[in-house]
Amino acid sequence: MEKPIIFIKDTSLTGDSSREIQTQLLKVAREKGIEDLQVIRVADLGIYDKGVALKICSLDIIYVNVKLSDAEKIIQTTIKEGTPIEDLLLENQAMQTRIVLRNCGIVDPESIDDYISRSGYASVGKCLFDMTPETVIEEMKKSGLRGRGGAGFPTWMKWNLARGSFGDEKYVICNADEGDPGAYMDRSVLEGDPHSVIEGMIIAGYAIGASKGFAYIRAEYPLAIERVQKAIDQAYEKGLLGKDILGSKFSFDLEIRLGAGAFVCGEETALIASIEGKRGTPKPRPPYPSDRGLWDKPTIINNVETLANIAVIFQKGAEWFATIGTDKSKGTKVFAVTGKVKNSGLVEIAMGTPLRDIVFQISGGCFVPENKMIAVQTGGPSGGVIPEKNFDTPVSYEHLIELGSIMGSGGMIVMDEDDCLVDISKFYLKFCVDESCGKCAPCRIGGYQMLAILEKITAGKGTLEDITSIKRIAQGMQKASLCALGQTAPNPVMSTLRYFESEYLDHIEKKKCRAGKCTKLLKFTIVPEKCKKCRLCVTNCPVNAISGDREKGYTIDQEKCIKCGRCFDVCKFEAIARA
């Protein structure tokens, strides 16, 4: 039998009583003649704010809110007799479900044998020998998989359109031009499990009748490029790419194309132009790529995460896949949770999981425990902000659109009360303005003008008419822009206006920034009554803007002050006022 091991962690925010309980458990165990029990303090159990938590490893039982007096009972009932104690059991814990990340962190990404031994490439075998392209597409339809790049277009439909189009050559493209600020799910999949994406591409190729594929990876991901290249070489070596795959009649070639680092190249028509060697600018659609894509041949473009799902669907069956998720959004979604959150990292959850579970239970809540979380931003520069009051909304394509945001490719940025929403939306808009290719006027001019208005508001020079202007420009951009970049660029601004209009009004009418992020609205002064004349602010000021002496007291020269907030942070007596 495995040695009994208990993990212990004090998950409360105040104090740490895990050591006492650890000692007590060991003491009781010794009294009862269990000598080989290990009680180990751990750094994280994935449980937060539930008192002292214990995990009995061999039984996979988790207890929460454990008191010192429970030690006796736990050792006797659970360790000796093997029965759980109902009162202490953890309930309703949100769990991650890993489908896309199934192999990440488990296999060696540079070893094809590791991947094959975990049923890798079995789905290629199944499709090539047991299924026709039509039944492959039928199976995809049953699974309900939708594009994970953000828009959520049904994958089977894309494949079916490309299959139906006439062309002597067809292409499969993997879109790995991940550009949203703070999102890195695709990079992790490519670096941790490149073969799953290659397998997905082979199946897609078989389904639409393509014999050539391109992995379009952004050049800023050198490690991902290296690992994918290695994986492609290994697959060729084993006859899993190239001519007559697995001895069947189907052939498929795959090569990497590097992205040039423009955000707009993630848009499918721009991406195609970039592969063709042209300047990466979007084209009006139709014709859609499934009709006339790369070199005017029928082409499908799937996101990395979409492709990583495909092998599992054929391995475990479309019915199984369709049981996960909600009515219209099937399967799981990987989010890169970043920002003011305790555990930043990748989280893969079944669709339909409430946002609250993701940010509070799985990611552990606010980075600074005392702060209040106010919103999360999903979908990057094309998405919107979801306020705290809507955190119980289940995550799915439809629900997030209803809230004025989008699923997006999976960036999730958590914001707390120290963030200014006007400043955040300015940041995202600036990103889109910088990345706009300049081809169409609504995006090029509209974005620039909207940014100018936001600059004005955050500088304290805004008027109420500005909000009307923003709304008008946004409408124009949404209706008239050529591609999704321009159409969705106003989303962060519009969604913050929808939920946090009062913040805009504060900036305009009261000339105040609640979070103190808009530096032009800030003024630091010294409160003489509270000042103990310790000179800490004087020595810390990087621009020597604070002058005076111990007798007369100190003052801040507003001309010199750069509003960095150093004095405010270092003062121990709250003698610096920020207004």
Binding site: E2, D44, Y121, L240, L246, K342, N343, G345
Partner: protein
């Protein structure tokens, strides 16, 4: 080049055979940025020095990017566990206490509730 057939796929053995003791170091960009390369080299060196029957291998990102570098350790008689924020000092302790002494190391384990 070898042309694998469908039946060959089932015969392929993983790098780490069942029952083999191993140390897996998370070596994606996030891990390497946090110092996983050093940790990987240190484990390789130490295990050679102590002449232990343990395979050291690299792997992808486990998702707990806040706790990189992550190291998964599995030795006989103990469940496989994940250590986070591993540096040189922690790596030494893992070798000495966990791999050689068969006692898990306090305060560095990161456990994730995941359904696979």
């Amino acid at each position: 080049m070898v042309q694998l057939t469908r039946d060959d796929l089932k015969k392929v053995q993983p790098k780490i055979k069942a029952g083999q003791q191993y140390v897996k170091v998370g070596m994606s960009t996030c891990g390497i940025a946090a110092g996983a390369q050093e940790v990987f080299e240190l484990f390789t060196k130490e295990i050679k020095q102590h002449d232990l029957n343990v395979v050291v291998t690299k792997t992808g990102c486990l998702g707990m990017c806040h706790a990189e570098p992550l190291v998964e350790v599995s030795v006989e008689g103990l469940p496989s566990v994940i250590y986070g924020r591993v540096n040189g000092e922690v790596a030494h302790r893992i070798i000495e206490e966990h791999v050689c002494g068969k006692r898990l190391v306090n305060d560095h384990i990161f456990d994730l509730p995941i359904r696979r």
